[in-house]
């Protein structure tokens, strides 16, 4: 089918390059979050506590960072989960760069719009 449509094939090949690059960076992001979550969970298994009262967990950035200093299992797990939440954001950021490299200006704008909307949503969520 492809040989009948050279224009479509060209677009498709360019996209394949862009997608492979985003895929590789996404994989690093996923592995990093998985490793942090795993370390946190094993720490919890070994210590038998999250390191917080009533086996609770921190929900503010300050509490998470403070807990990381003393390697509290709850803080490490929350950091891992937070990294996981950021992997879709990473996907959008890398997509902007990838479209830019491909000189696909229309999609640089479209993807930037997605990022801005997403950041607004993340900000609303935090406040």
């Amino acid at each position: 089918m492809s040989e009948n449509n050279p224009e479509l094939e060209k677009i498709s090949k360019e996209m394949a390059q862009v997608e492979i690059m985003i895929g590789q960076i996404l994989r690093i992001g996923v592995i990093v979050s998985a490793v942090i979550m795993l370390v946190g969970f094993i720490t919890y298994g070994v210590q038998g506590t999250t390191g917080f009262a009533h086996n609770g967990f921190p929900t503010t950035i300050t509490a998470i960072i403070t807990g990381l200093g003393t390697f509290k299992a709850g803080s490490v797990m929350m950091l891992g989960l937070f990294c996981l939440i950021l992997t879709p954001v990473l996907r959008v950021i890398v997509s902007i760069y990838a479209f830019y490299v491909e000189k696909d200006h229309l999609y640089v704008w479209i993807t930037t719009a997605v990022l801005v909307i997403l950041l607004i949503a993340l900000f609303i969520g935090h406040s």
């Binding site: 498709s12 492979i20 969970f41 929350m78």
Partner: protein, 280 residues
């Protein structure tokens, strides 16, 4: 310990199924957590949102590498779902959930009916004589390599405005009700925009993580995400989604559709009944 093993296994199953079908896995996870394990609905919702992101990120790695999904379609439509998700959050308490449940329940049932029609006609890929002007302008037409069929499949998408409208509504519904993260997207892509099923489910996989991330920080900072539940679940899902994204590519599109039909009917019916106050 038992709870950890259950979470890992549930995650594994939800990850495989979610990766193949482009769904967030809520239909498996929420009932197991709330009904079978008696976990507070607040933590179940938090775990579900983490599940959507884990499924999405785990599966998308393979779908990007193997060029199955359509990145342009995903990013263009993501504008509408994320805007919808914000509006959904803002409209919380103003917009009637009943209207949303009924509307999307009916749309999903229609989508299921449409899928049966496609199964009966036997044609998975649409070839149009007159290409869609907007799809062409946005360079949305593409191709994907089908490992099951062993060939590259060219496809065109149509009815872009209709797809975008459904995505916007889906964003509102997901933001407001926290449901249908994947089902609505597959519906918009497959039923409305006539994209082949494999690019539809894999593109839905990429998109649902981005939409879920938009609302995930709310749950993260309000304490709905309990790490002792969410972490083992997420780890199970990441493994499951990695496996599922490989299985999906080797499954004939027709089989995926056959698995999809009862699930989309189930979700549609569940939503419709919820609209009338019946929980199943």
């Amino acid at each position: 310990m038992t709870q950890v093993i259950i979470m890992l296994v549930v995650g594994l199953a939800a990850g495989i199924l979610g990766a193949i079908l482009g769904l967030g896995g809520g239909i498996i996870i929420t009932p197991v957590l709330t009904l079978a394990m008696g976990i507070d609905i607040k933590y179940a919702i938090g775990a579900s949102i983490i599940a959507v992101i884990a499924t999405s990120s785990g599966a998308t790695i393979a779908y990007l590498r193997d060029n199955v999904l359509n990145l342009r379609v995903a990013m263009f439509l993501e504008i509408f779902t994320t805007l919808g998700a914000i509006l959904g959050a803002v409209l919380n308490g103003i917009l009637s959930p009943v209207v949303l449940y009924v509307t999307f329940g009916v749309l999903l049932l229609y989508s299921g009916y449409n899928m049966i029609r496609k199964l009966r006609s036997g044609t998975e890929v649409l070839h149009r004589a007159t290409p869609d002007a907007l799809a062409e302008k946005l360079e949305l037409n593409s191709s994907y390599y089908d490992k099951a069929a062993g060939k590259t499949v060219d496809y065109q998408v149509e009815r872009v405005p209709a797809g975008a409208t459904v995505m916007f509504g889906a964003g509102i519904a997901s933001g407001l009700l926290g449901i249908g993260s994947g089902a609505f997207k597959v519906m918009a892509l497959d039923t409305f925009m006539k994209m082949p099923l494999k690019p539809s489910t894999s593109t839905s996989n990429l998109m649902m993580g981005v939409t879920a991330a938009a609302s995930a920080t709310v749950y993260f900072f309000n304490g709905s995400i309990q790490p002792l539940i969410a972490v083992p679940l997420a780890l199970g899902i990441l493994v499951g989604a990695t496996v599922g994204s490989r299985i999906m590519q080797r499954l004939p599109a027709r089989w995926i559709r056959i698995i999809f039909v009862p699930i989309i009917f189930y979700i549609g019916l569940q939503m419709l009944l919820k609209g009338f106050g019946v929980n199943i």
